[in-house]
Protein backbone atom coordinates (compact mmCIF):
# COMPACT_ATOMS: atom_id res chain seq x y z
CA UNK A 1 0.00 0.00 0.00
CA UNK A 2 2.80 2.38 0.89
CA UNK A 3 4.50 1.55 -2.39
CA UNK A 4 1.32 2.16 -4.40
CA UNK A 5 1.03 5.46 -2.60
CA UNK A 6 4.65 6.28 -3.38
CA UNK A 7 3.99 5.74 -7.09
CA UNK A 8 0.78 7.75 -6.87
CA UNK A 9 2.49 10.62 -5.11
CA UNK A 10 5.43 10.69 -7.50
CA UNK A 11 3.21 10.59 -10.58
CA UNK A 12 0.84 13.21 -9.28
CA UNK A 13 3.70 15.53 -8.37
CA UNK A 14 5.37 14.91 -11.72
CA UNK A 15 2.32 16.29 -13.53
CA UNK A 16 2.92 19.58 -11.78
CA UNK A 17 6.70 19.58 -12.16
CA UNK A 18 6.27 19.94 -15.90
CA UNK A 19 4.11 22.61 -17.55
CA UNK A 20 1.81 19.84 -18.79
CA UNK A 21 -0.65 19.84 -15.88
CA UNK A 22 -0.99 23.62 -15.92
CA UNK A 23 -1.56 23.68 -19.67
CA UNK A 24 -4.17 20.92 -19.42
CA UNK A 25 -5.97 22.59 -16.52
CA UNK A 26 -5.92 25.98 -18.26
CA UNK A 27 -7.26 24.61 -21.55
CA UNK A 28 -9.90 22.47 -19.89
CA UNK A 29 -11.11 25.33 -17.70
CA UNK A 30 -11.12 27.78 -20.58
CA UNK A 31 -13.11 25.55 -22.92
CA UNK A 32 -15.56 24.28 -20.32
CA UNK A 33 -15.99 27.82 -19.01
CA UNK A 34 -16.69 29.20 -22.46
CA UNK A 35 -19.19 26.46 -23.19
CA UNK A 36 -20.83 27.01 -19.82
CA UNK A 37 -21.24 30.69 -20.63
CA UNK A 38 -22.78 29.88 -23.99
CA UNK A 39 -25.17 27.31 -22.59
CA UNK A 40 -26.19 29.68 -19.83
CA UNK A 41 -26.76 32.57 -22.25
CA UNK A 42 -28.81 30.35 -24.49
CA UNK A 43 -30.85 29.16 -21.50
CA UNK A 44 -31.47 32.69 -20.22
CA UNK A 45 -32.45 33.91 -23.68
CA UNK A 46 -34.81 31.03 -24.27
CA UNK A 47 -36.51 31.36 -20.92
CA UNK A 48 -36.85 35.12 -21.39
CA UNK A 49 -38.45 34.68 -24.83
CA UNK A 50 -40.79 31.98 -23.63
CA UNK A 51 -41.89 34.11 -20.71
CA UNK A 52 -42.54 37.08 -23.02
CA UNK A 53 -44.51 34.87 -25.35
CA UNK A 54 -46.60 33.54 -22.49
CA UNK A 55 -47.33 37.09 -21.35
CA UNK A 56 -48.47 38.07 -24.84
CA UNK A 57 -50.98 35.26 -24.94
CA UNK A 58 -51.91 35.93 -21.31
CA UNK A 59 -50.88 32.46 -20.24
CA UNK A 60 -49.20 31.40 -17.03
CA UNK A 61 -45.39 31.74 -17.33
CA UNK A 62 -43.80 28.39 -18.25
CA UNK A 63 -41.58 26.57 -15.76
CA UNK A 64 -37.97 26.13 -16.81
CA UNK A 65 -35.98 23.30 -15.45
CA UNK A 66 -32.32 24.20 -15.00
CA UNK A 67 -31.40 20.58 -14.47
CA UNK A 68 -33.10 19.40 -17.62
CA UNK A 69 -32.19 22.22 -19.97
CA UNK A 70 -28.83 23.36 -18.75
CA UNK A 71 -27.05 21.00 -16.39
CA UNK A 72 -27.78 17.86 -18.35
CA UNK A 73 -26.40 19.36 -21.51
CA UNK A 74 -23.41 20.70 -19.68
CA UNK A 75 -22.44 17.28 -18.37
CA UNK A 76 -22.58 15.96 -21.93
CA UNK A 77 -20.22 18.76 -22.93
CA UNK A 78 -17.85 18.00 -20.08
CA UNK A 79 -17.75 14.34 -21.08
CA UNK A 80 -16.97 15.33 -24.66
CA UNK A 81 -14.10 17.63 -23.67
CA UNK A 82 -12.78 14.91 -21.35
CA UNK A 83 -12.56 12.61 -24.34
CA UNK A 84 -9.98 14.96 -25.86
CA UNK A 85 -8.12 15.98 -22.74
CA UNK A 86 -7.68 12.64 -20.94
CA UNK A 87 -5.25 11.05 -23.42
CA UNK A 88 -2.87 13.92 -22.70
CA UNK A 89 -2.96 12.96 -19.04
CA UNK A 90 -2.34 9.28 -19.62
CA UNK A 91 0.18 9.51 -22.45
CA UNK A 92 3.25 10.04 -20.28
CA UNK A 93 2.43 7.58 -17.51
CA UNK A 94 4.34 4.65 -18.99
CA UNK A 95 5.77 6.00 -22.24
CA UNK A 96 8.02 8.38 -20.34
CA UNK A 97 9.33 5.64 -18.03
CA UNK A 98 10.14 3.55 -21.05
CA UNK A 99 11.92 6.39 -22.79
CA UNK A 100 13.96 7.42 -19.75
CA UNK A 101 14.81 3.84 -18.84
CA UNK A 102 13.34 4.24 -15.38
CA UNK A 103 11.22 1.15 -15.88
CA UNK A 104 14.47 -0.72 -15.22
CA UNK A 105 14.39 0.75 -11.72
CA UNK A 106 10.81 -0.31 -11.12
CA UNK A 107 11.47 -3.82 -12.42
CA UNK A 108 14.48 -4.36 -10.19
CA UNK A 109 13.13 -2.95 -6.94
CA UNK A 110 10.77 -4.94 -4.72
CA UNK A 111 7.58 -3.43 -6.08
CA UNK A 112 4.96 -5.43 -7.93
CA UNK A 113 3.62 -4.52 -11.35
CA UNK A 114 0.15 -4.26 -9.83
CA UNK A 115 1.34 -1.60 -7.40
CA UNK A 116 2.89 0.37 -10.25
CA UNK A 117 -0.21 0.19 -12.44
CA UNK A 118 -2.59 1.04 -9.60
CA UNK A 119 -0.47 3.97 -8.43
CA UNK A 120 -0.28 5.45 -11.91
CA UNK A 121 -3.98 4.95 -12.60
CA UNK A 122 -4.93 6.67 -9.34
CA UNK A 123 -2.61 9.58 -10.13
CA UNK A 124 -4.30 10.03 -13.51
CA UNK A 125 -7.73 9.87 -11.92
CA UNK A 126 -6.73 12.36 -9.24
CA UNK A 127 -5.56 14.84 -11.85
CA UNK A 128 -8.87 14.42 -13.68
CA UNK A 129 -10.75 15.24 -10.48
CA UNK A 130 -8.57 18.34 -10.10
CA UNK A 131 -9.58 19.28 -13.65
CA UNK A 132 -13.25 19.05 -12.72
CA UNK A 133 -12.97 21.39 -9.72
CA UNK A 134 -13.29 24.65 -11.73
CA UNK A 135 -16.47 23.32 -13.36
CA UNK A 136 -17.90 22.85 -9.87
CA UNK A 137 -17.57 26.62 -9.39
CA UNK A 138 -19.63 27.14 -12.55
CA UNK A 139 -22.24 24.79 -11.12
CA UNK A 140 -22.14 26.66 -7.83
CA UNK A 141 -23.19 29.83 -9.69
CA UNK A 142 -26.37 28.07 -10.71
CA UNK A 143 -27.08 27.21 -7.10
CA UNK A 144 -26.47 30.80 -6.03
CA UNK A 145 -28.72 32.41 -8.64
CA UNK A 146 -31.23 29.61 -9.18
CA UNK A 147 -32.43 26.56 -7.44
CA UNK A 148 -31.50 23.44 -9.37
CA UNK A 149 -31.79 20.00 -7.83
CA UNK A 150 -28.60 18.90 -6.18
CA UNK A 151 -28.73 15.12 -6.66
CA UNK A 152 -28.58 15.14 -10.49
CA UNK A 153 -25.47 17.33 -10.24
CA UNK A 154 -23.88 14.86 -7.84
CA UNK A 155 -24.78 11.87 -10.00
CA UNK A 156 -23.48 13.75 -13.04
CA UNK A 157 -20.10 14.16 -11.43
CA UNK A 158 -20.07 10.52 -10.35
CA UNK A 159 -20.80 9.62 -13.96
CA UNK A 160 -18.04 11.89 -15.23
CA UNK A 161 -15.50 10.41 -12.85
CA UNK A 162 -16.50 6.88 -13.88
CA UNK A 163 -16.25 7.83 -17.54
CA UNK A 164 -12.88 9.43 -16.90
CA UNK A 165 -11.76 6.34 -15.04
CA UNK A 166 -12.51 4.22 -18.10
CA UNK A 167 -10.63 6.53 -20.46
CA UNK A 168 -7.69 6.71 -18.07
CA UNK A 169 -7.43 2.94 -17.69
CA UNK A 170 -7.53 2.49 -21.46
CA UNK A 171 -5.10 5.35 -22.05
CA UNK A 172 -2.77 3.83 -19.49
CA UNK A 173 -2.79 0.60 -21.42
CA UNK A 174 -1.92 2.36 -24.68
CA UNK A 175 0.89 4.15 -22.86
CA UNK A 176 2.45 0.82 -21.88
CA UNK A 177 2.76 -0.13 -25.54
CA UNK A 178 5.05 2.63 -26.72
CA UNK A 179 7.85 4.88 -25.57
CA UNK A 180 6.57 7.72 -27.73
CA UNK A 181 4.20 10.00 -25.83
CA UNK A 182 2.61 11.40 -28.99
CA UNK A 183 1.71 7.92 -30.17
CA UNK A 184 0.42 7.09 -26.69
CA UNK A 185 -1.83 10.17 -26.79
CA UNK A 186 -3.14 9.49 -30.28
CA UNK A 187 -3.69 5.81 -29.51
CA UNK A 188 -5.46 6.60 -26.26
CA UNK A 189 -7.66 9.12 -28.01
CA UNK A 190 -8.49 6.69 -30.84
CA UNK A 191 -9.47 3.94 -28.43
CA UNK A 192 -11.62 6.32 -26.36
CA UNK A 193 -13.23 7.74 -29.48
CA UNK A 194 -14.03 4.26 -30.67
CA UNK A 195 -15.94 3.58 -27.47
CA UNK A 196 -17.69 6.92 -27.91
CA UNK A 197 -18.91 6.32 -31.44
CA UNK A 198 -19.35 2.56 -31.45
CA UNK A 199 -23.00 2.93 -30.47
CA UNK A 200 -23.75 4.91 -33.62
CA UNK A 201 -23.47 1.72 -35.61
CA UNK A 202 -26.35 0.25 -33.65
CA UNK A 203 -28.83 2.30 -35.70
CA UNK A 204 -27.89 0.48 -38.87
CA UNK A 205 -27.52 -3.02 -37.55
CA UNK A 206 -30.05 -5.41 -36.25
CA UNK A 207 -30.20 -8.81 -34.65
CA UNK A 208 -27.69 -9.74 -32.03
CA UNK A 209 -25.14 -7.09 -32.92
CA UNK A 210 -27.39 -4.15 -32.11
CA UNK A 211 -27.64 -4.66 -28.34
CA UNK A 212 -23.92 -5.46 -28.19
CA UNK A 213 -22.96 -2.20 -29.89
CA UNK A 214 -25.39 -0.29 -27.74
CA UNK A 215 -23.99 -1.82 -24.61
CA UNK A 216 -20.42 -1.00 -25.62
CA UNK A 217 -21.19 2.65 -26.26
CA UNK A 218 -19.81 4.77 -23.47
CA UNK A 219 -22.31 7.55 -24.22
CA UNK A 220 -25.43 5.49 -23.69
CA UNK A 221 -24.25 4.66 -20.18
CA UNK A 222 -23.47 8.25 -19.40
CA UNK A 223 -26.87 9.72 -20.23
CA UNK A 224 -28.60 8.35 -17.15
CA UNK A 225 -26.01 9.84 -14.83
CA UNK A 226 -26.53 13.30 -16.34
CA UNK A 227 -30.24 12.89 -15.67
CA UNK A 228 -29.71 12.03 -12.05
CA UNK A 229 -30.04 8.28 -12.20
CA UNK A 230 -27.32 6.06 -10.81
CA UNK A 231 -27.99 2.67 -12.32
CA UNK A 232 -25.86 -0.23 -11.20
CA UNK A 233 -25.61 -1.64 -14.75
CA UNK A 234 -24.01 1.59 -15.90
CA UNK A 235 -21.68 1.68 -12.93
CA UNK A 236 -20.79 -1.92 -13.73
CA UNK A 237 -20.04 -0.99 -17.34
CA UNK A 238 -17.48 1.62 -16.32
CA UNK A 239 -15.95 -0.56 -13.65
CA UNK A 240 -15.62 -3.48 -16.05
CA UNK A 241 -13.85 -1.32 -18.62
CA UNK A 242 -11.62 0.26 -16.00
CA UNK A 243 -10.60 -3.13 -14.66
CA UNK A 244 -10.16 -4.40 -18.20
CA UNK A 245 -7.86 -1.49 -19.05
CA UNK A 246 -5.83 -1.96 -15.87
CA UNK A 247 -5.59 -5.69 -16.50
CA UNK A 248 -4.29 -5.12 -20.02
CA UNK A 249 -1.76 -2.60 -18.71
CA UNK A 250 -0.60 -5.08 -16.11
CA UNK A 251 -0.22 -7.88 -18.64
CA UNK A 252 1.48 -5.53 -21.06
CA UNK A 253 4.18 -4.45 -18.64
CA UNK A 254 4.62 -7.99 -17.36
CA UNK A 255 5.07 -9.23 -20.89
CA UNK A 256 7.95 -6.83 -21.55
CA UNK A 257 10.07 -9.14 -19.43
CA UNK A 258 9.21 -12.14 -21.51
CA UNK A 259 9.68 -10.57 -24.89
CA UNK A 260 12.74 -12.07 -26.46
Amino acid sequence: MRKTLAIFEKEFKSFFYSPLAYVIIAIFTLITGYLFYNLLSWFVEQSFMMTMQAQQYRQAPPKFNVNLHLIRGYFGTLAFISLFILPTITMRLFAEEKKQGTLELLYTTPITELQVVTGKYLAGLALYIVLLIPTMFFMALLFIYGDPEFLPVLSGYIGLILLGSTFIALGLFISTLTENQIIAAIGGFALSLLLWIIGWGATFTGGTLKPVLEYLSILVHFEDFAQGVIDSTHVAYYLIFTIFGLYLSLKSIESVKWRT
Binding site: R2, K3, L105, P110, I111
Partner: protein
Amino acid sequence: MIEVNDLTKYYGQKRAISNVSFKVKKGEILGMLGPNAAGKTTAMRILTCYMPPTAGSATVGGYDIFDQSMQVRRITGYLPENPPLYTELTVKDYLMFVAKIKGVEKDKTKAEIDTVIEKASIGEVRNRVIGKLSKGFKQRVGLAQCLLNNPQVVILDEPTVGLDPKQIIEIRELIKNLKGDHTVILSSHILPEVEQTCERVVIISEGEVVAEDTPENLTARMKGGERVLLELEGDEKQVKEVFRTFPDVTAVKVNKTAGGLLKVEVESKKDLRKDYAQALIVKKIGLLEMQSDKVTLEDIFLHLTTKEEAA
Protein backbone atom coordinates in the same frame (compact mmCIF):
# COMPACT_ATOMS: atom_id res chain seq x y z
CA MET B 1 26.60 -15.05 -2.16
CA ILE B 2 25.91 -15.16 -5.86
CA GLU B 3 25.85 -18.35 -7.84
CA VAL B 4 25.26 -18.40 -11.55
CA ASN B 5 24.76 -21.70 -13.30
CA ASP B 6 24.69 -22.11 -17.06
CA LEU B 7 22.72 -18.97 -17.78
CA THR B 8 21.60 -18.71 -21.37
CA LYS B 9 19.55 -15.96 -22.91
CA TYR B 10 18.22 -15.67 -26.42
CA TYR B 11 16.72 -12.54 -27.93
CA GLY B 12 14.68 -14.15 -30.65
CA GLN B 13 17.21 -16.08 -32.71
CA LYS B 14 20.13 -14.11 -31.40
CA ARG B 15 22.06 -15.61 -28.52
CA ALA B 16 23.10 -12.98 -26.00
CA ILE B 17 24.81 -15.19 -23.45
CA SER B 18 25.33 -18.91 -23.31
CA ASN B 19 26.17 -21.17 -20.37
CA VAL B 20 27.53 -18.40 -18.24
CA SER B 21 28.56 -19.69 -14.82
CA PHE B 22 30.45 -18.04 -12.00
CA LYS B 23 30.37 -17.56 -8.25
CA VAL B 24 30.90 -14.51 -6.12
CA LYS B 25 31.81 -14.79 -2.46
CA LYS B 26 30.39 -12.55 0.23
CA GLY B 27 32.12 -9.19 0.39
CA GLU B 28 33.99 -9.70 -2.84
CA ILE B 29 34.23 -7.37 -5.82
CA LEU B 30 33.91 -9.21 -9.10
CA GLY B 31 34.71 -7.51 -12.36
CA MET B 32 32.88 -8.52 -15.46
CA LEU B 33 35.01 -7.65 -18.39
CA GLY B 34 34.22 -7.84 -22.04
CA PRO B 35 33.95 -5.82 -25.20
CA ASN B 36 30.73 -3.97 -25.94
CA ALA B 37 27.80 -6.23 -26.73
CA ALA B 38 29.51 -9.23 -25.11
CA GLY B 39 26.49 -9.94 -22.91
CA LYS B 40 27.51 -8.21 -19.70
CA THR B 41 24.35 -6.16 -19.41
CA THR B 42 22.21 -9.18 -20.23
CA ALA B 43 23.83 -11.19 -17.44
CA MET B 44 23.31 -8.33 -15.01
CA ARG B 45 19.71 -7.81 -16.00
CA ILE B 46 19.02 -11.45 -15.37
CA LEU B 47 20.69 -11.32 -11.94
CA THR B 48 18.65 -8.27 -10.97
CA CYS B 49 15.39 -9.96 -12.02
CA TYR B 50 14.81 -7.46 -14.81
CA MET B 51 14.22 -10.36 -17.15
CA PRO B 52 14.27 -14.11 -16.87
CA PRO B 53 16.92 -16.29 -18.52
CA THR B 54 16.03 -18.62 -21.38
CA ALA B 55 17.81 -21.44 -19.58
CA GLY B 56 19.94 -21.94 -16.50
CA SER B 57 19.54 -20.67 -12.99
CA ALA B 58 21.07 -18.29 -10.53
CA THR B 59 20.78 -17.50 -6.86
CA VAL B 60 21.50 -14.23 -5.14
CA GLY B 61 21.96 -14.40 -1.37
CA GLY B 62 20.52 -17.91 -1.50
CA TYR B 63 17.31 -16.77 -3.21
CA ASP B 64 16.41 -18.03 -6.65
CA ILE B 65 16.17 -15.17 -9.14
CA PHE B 66 13.09 -16.66 -10.73
CA ASP B 67 11.04 -18.10 -7.88
CA GLN B 68 12.03 -15.62 -5.19
CA SER B 69 12.41 -12.54 -7.29
CA MET B 70 11.03 -10.18 -4.64
CA GLN B 71 13.53 -11.37 -2.03
CA VAL B 72 16.37 -11.00 -4.52
CA ARG B 73 15.26 -7.47 -5.37
CA ARG B 74 15.07 -6.60 -1.68
CA ILE B 75 18.74 -7.38 -1.09
CA THR B 76 20.08 -6.11 -4.40
CA GLY B 77 20.99 -2.62 -5.50
CA TYR B 78 21.34 -2.12 -9.22
CA LEU B 79 22.75 0.72 -11.25
CA PRO B 80 21.97 0.20 -14.93
CA GLU B 81 24.21 1.64 -17.60
CA ASN B 82 21.91 4.63 -18.00
CA PRO B 83 21.06 5.66 -14.46
CA PRO B 84 17.27 5.39 -14.09
CA LEU B 85 16.53 8.93 -12.96
CA TYR B 86 13.32 10.93 -12.95
CA THR B 87 14.79 14.11 -14.34
CA GLU B 88 11.94 16.34 -13.16
CA LEU B 89 12.43 15.44 -9.49
CA THR B 90 14.97 16.90 -7.09
CA VAL B 91 17.70 14.59 -5.81
CA LYS B 92 16.06 14.43 -2.40
CA ASP B 93 12.57 13.72 -3.75
CA TYR B 94 13.97 11.08 -6.03
CA LEU B 95 15.81 9.27 -3.24
CA MET B 96 12.72 9.57 -1.08
CA PHE B 97 10.67 7.90 -3.80
CA VAL B 98 13.19 5.10 -4.30
CA ALA B 99 13.38 4.55 -0.54
CA LYS B 100 9.62 4.11 -0.46
CA ILE B 101 9.45 1.64 -3.33
CA LYS B 102 12.39 -0.25 -1.89
CA GLY B 103 10.41 -0.59 1.30
CA VAL B 104 12.72 1.29 3.63
CA GLU B 105 10.93 1.67 6.96
CA LYS B 106 9.35 5.05 7.45
CA ASP B 107 11.29 6.15 10.50
CA LYS B 108 14.59 5.05 8.98
CA THR B 109 14.07 6.72 5.61
CA LYS B 110 15.65 10.05 6.47
CA ALA B 111 18.76 8.56 8.03
CA GLU B 112 19.10 6.10 5.16
CA ILE B 113 18.90 8.89 2.57
CA ASP B 114 21.46 10.96 4.46
CA THR B 115 23.81 7.98 4.52
CA VAL B 116 23.71 7.38 0.76
CA ILE B 117 23.95 11.09 0.03
CA GLU B 118 27.12 11.14 2.05
CA LYS B 119 28.49 7.95 0.49
CA ALA B 120 27.96 9.26 -3.01
CA SER B 121 29.02 12.78 -1.99
CA ILE B 122 26.03 14.53 -3.50
CA GLY B 123 25.20 16.68 -0.48
CA GLU B 124 25.71 19.91 -2.38
CA VAL B 125 23.09 19.05 -5.01
CA ARG B 126 20.48 17.39 -2.81
CA ASN B 127 17.89 20.09 -3.46
CA ARG B 128 18.56 20.48 -7.17
CA VAL B 129 16.51 19.09 -10.02
CA ILE B 130 18.18 15.99 -11.45
CA GLY B 131 17.71 17.04 -15.07
CA LYS B 132 19.92 20.07 -14.50
CA LEU B 133 22.85 18.11 -13.04
CA SER B 134 26.07 17.19 -14.83
CA LYS B 135 26.65 13.66 -16.07
CA GLY B 136 29.00 12.94 -13.16
CA PHE B 137 26.46 13.97 -10.57
CA LYS B 138 23.70 12.06 -12.32
CA GLN B 139 25.85 8.95 -12.15
CA ARG B 140 26.38 9.49 -8.44
CA VAL B 141 22.70 10.02 -7.83
CA GLY B 142 22.21 6.69 -9.61
CA LEU B 143 24.79 5.16 -7.34
CA ALA B 144 23.10 6.65 -4.26
CA GLN B 145 19.84 5.15 -5.43
CA CYS B 146 21.53 1.80 -5.83
CA LEU B 147 22.95 1.89 -2.29
CA LEU B 148 19.64 2.80 -0.65
CA ASN B 149 18.38 0.28 1.86
CA ASN B 150 21.93 -0.98 2.34
CA PRO B 151 21.79 -3.84 -0.18
CA GLN B 152 23.92 -6.91 0.43
CA VAL B 153 24.55 -7.21 -3.28
CA VAL B 154 25.46 -4.27 -5.48
CA ILE B 155 25.40 -4.64 -9.25
CA LEU B 156 26.91 -1.84 -11.31
CA ASP B 157 26.73 -1.75 -15.08
CA GLU B 158 29.59 0.32 -16.49
CA PRO B 159 29.57 2.75 -13.58
CA THR B 160 32.28 5.04 -14.95
CA VAL B 161 31.19 5.36 -18.56
CA GLY B 162 31.00 8.94 -19.80
CA LEU B 163 32.73 10.50 -16.81
CA ASP B 164 35.83 12.67 -16.78
CA PRO B 165 39.06 11.22 -15.35
CA LYS B 166 38.66 12.89 -11.97
CA GLN B 167 35.13 11.62 -11.58
CA ILE B 168 36.22 8.15 -12.66
CA ILE B 169 38.81 8.04 -9.90
CA GLU B 170 36.23 9.20 -7.35
CA ILE B 171 33.69 6.60 -8.40
CA ARG B 172 36.35 3.89 -8.28
CA GLU B 173 37.31 4.91 -4.77
CA LEU B 174 33.67 4.77 -3.82
CA ILE B 175 33.35 1.28 -5.24
CA LYS B 176 36.48 0.10 -3.45
CA ASN B 177 34.95 1.33 -0.21
CA LEU B 178 31.98 -0.95 -0.75
CA LYS B 179 34.21 -3.99 -0.38
CA GLY B 180 33.53 -6.07 2.68
CA ASP B 181 30.10 -4.70 3.51
CA HIS B 182 28.67 -5.39 0.09
CA THR B 183 29.16 -8.04 -2.53
CA VAL B 184 29.78 -6.20 -5.76
CA ILE B 185 29.58 -7.13 -9.41
CA LEU B 186 30.89 -4.49 -11.72
CA SER B 187 31.00 -4.54 -15.48
CA SER B 188 33.36 -2.63 -17.65
CA HIS B 189 35.13 -2.67 -20.93
CA ILE B 190 37.95 -0.61 -19.49
CA LEU B 191 40.70 -2.88 -18.25
CA PRO B 192 42.68 -0.78 -15.80
CA GLU B 193 39.44 -0.08 -14.03
CA VAL B 194 38.77 -3.72 -13.37
CA GLU B 195 42.42 -4.31 -12.54
CA GLN B 196 42.30 -1.59 -9.90
CA THR B 197 38.98 -2.24 -8.27
CA CYS B 198 38.26 -5.94 -8.54
CA GLU B 199 39.56 -8.97 -6.74
CA ARG B 200 38.38 -11.36 -9.34
CA VAL B 201 37.65 -10.98 -13.02
CA VAL B 202 35.31 -12.82 -15.33
CA ILE B 203 36.04 -12.17 -18.96
CA ILE B 204 33.05 -12.50 -21.22
CA SER B 205 33.28 -12.56 -24.95
CA GLU B 206 30.41 -13.14 -27.33
CA GLY B 207 28.21 -14.32 -24.52
CA GLU B 208 30.60 -16.87 -23.10
CA VAL B 209 32.92 -16.84 -20.13
CA VAL B 210 36.43 -17.19 -21.57
CA ALA B 211 38.39 -16.72 -18.36
CA GLU B 212 37.83 -16.35 -14.66
CA ASP B 213 40.57 -15.59 -12.14
CA THR B 214 42.23 -12.87 -10.09
CA PRO B 215 43.82 -10.09 -12.14
CA GLU B 216 47.27 -11.22 -10.91
CA ASN B 217 46.75 -14.85 -11.82
CA LEU B 218 45.44 -13.93 -15.22
CA THR B 219 48.49 -11.81 -15.82
CA ALA B 220 50.81 -14.56 -14.58
CA ARG B 221 49.13 -17.15 -16.71
CA MET B 222 49.68 -15.09 -19.79
CA LYS B 223 53.20 -14.24 -18.86
CA GLY B 224 54.90 -16.99 -20.84
CA GLY B 225 58.10 -14.97 -20.63
CA GLU B 226 59.77 -11.63 -20.31
CA ARG B 227 59.41 -9.03 -22.96
CA VAL B 228 61.90 -6.19 -23.23
CA LEU B 229 61.69 -3.14 -25.44
CA LEU B 230 64.92 -1.48 -26.53
CA GLU B 231 65.96 1.50 -28.55
CA LEU B 232 69.35 0.99 -30.17
CA GLU B 233 71.73 2.66 -32.52
CA GLY B 234 73.59 0.30 -34.80
CA ASP B 235 73.40 -2.15 -37.64
CA GLU B 236 70.23 -4.19 -37.89
CA LYS B 237 71.98 -7.45 -38.76
CA GLN B 238 74.50 -7.09 -36.00
CA VAL B 239 71.80 -6.38 -33.47
CA LYS B 240 69.90 -9.48 -34.43
CA GLU B 241 73.01 -11.60 -34.08
CA VAL B 242 73.67 -10.29 -30.59
CA PHE B 243 70.28 -11.45 -29.37
CA ARG B 244 70.51 -14.80 -31.14
CA THR B 245 73.53 -15.70 -29.04
CA PHE B 246 71.29 -16.08 -26.01
CA PRO B 247 69.69 -19.54 -25.97
CA ASP B 248 66.78 -18.32 -23.82
CA VAL B 249 65.63 -15.68 -26.30
CA THR B 250 62.51 -16.85 -28.09
CA ALA B 251 61.76 -13.99 -30.43
CA VAL B 252 63.38 -10.82 -31.73
CA LYS B 253 61.56 -8.13 -33.67
CA VAL B 254 63.44 -5.19 -35.14
CA ASN B 255 61.86 -2.06 -36.59
CA LYS B 256 63.72 0.88 -38.06
CA THR B 257 62.51 4.29 -36.97
CA ALA B 258 62.49 7.38 -39.16
CA GLY B 259 65.59 8.71 -37.38
CA GLY B 260 67.64 5.64 -38.26
CA LEU B 261 67.33 4.15 -34.78
CA LEU B 262 66.22 0.60 -34.13
CA LYS B 263 63.24 -0.36 -32.04
CA VAL B 264 63.74 -3.90 -30.81
CA GLU B 265 61.31 -6.18 -29.08
CA VAL B 266 62.86 -9.23 -27.46
CA GLU B 267 61.04 -12.07 -25.77
CA SER B 268 62.83 -14.53 -23.57
CA LYS B 269 62.15 -17.23 -21.03
CA LYS B 270 63.72 -15.30 -18.18
CA ASP B 271 64.83 -11.80 -17.31
CA LEU B 272 68.02 -11.14 -19.33
CA ARG B 273 68.20 -7.37 -19.20
CA LYS B 274 71.66 -7.26 -17.60
CA ASP B 275 73.08 -9.67 -20.15
CA TYR B 276 71.59 -7.72 -23.04
CA ALA B 277 73.19 -4.53 -21.82
CA GLN B 278 76.61 -6.13 -21.48
CA ALA B 279 76.47 -7.87 -24.82
CA LEU B 280 75.38 -4.69 -26.59
CA ILE B 281 78.13 -2.62 -25.03
CA VAL B 282 80.75 -5.21 -25.97
CA LYS B 283 79.58 -5.00 -29.60
CA LYS B 284 79.63 -1.17 -29.38
CA ILE B 285 75.98 -0.85 -30.19
CA GLY B 286 74.43 2.30 -28.76
CA LEU B 287 71.93 1.43 -26.04
CA LEU B 288 69.57 4.37 -25.73
CA GLU B 289 66.66 2.88 -23.91
CA MET B 290 65.57 -0.39 -22.37
CA GLN B 291 62.38 -1.20 -20.59
CA SER B 292 60.65 -4.29 -19.37
CA ASP B 293 57.23 -4.65 -20.92
CA LYS B 294 54.78 -6.25 -18.52
CA VAL B 295 51.98 -8.30 -19.91
CA THR B 296 48.87 -6.34 -18.96
CA LEU B 297 45.34 -7.43 -18.51
CA GLU B 298 44.81 -5.68 -21.78
CA ASP B 299 46.96 -8.21 -23.60
CA ILE B 300 45.13 -11.07 -21.98
CA PHE B 301 41.86 -9.51 -22.83
CA LEU B 302 42.79 -8.99 -26.47
CA HIS B 303 44.34 -12.43 -26.63
CA LEU B 304 41.29 -14.14 -25.22
CA THR B 305 38.73 -12.17 -27.10
CA THR B 306 40.45 -12.19 -30.47
CA LYS B 307 41.13 -15.89 -30.22
CA GLU B 308 37.42 -16.25 -29.79
CA GLU B 309 36.76 -14.32 -32.96
CA ALA B 310 39.19 -16.42 -34.97
CA ALA B 311 37.55 -19.67 -33.88
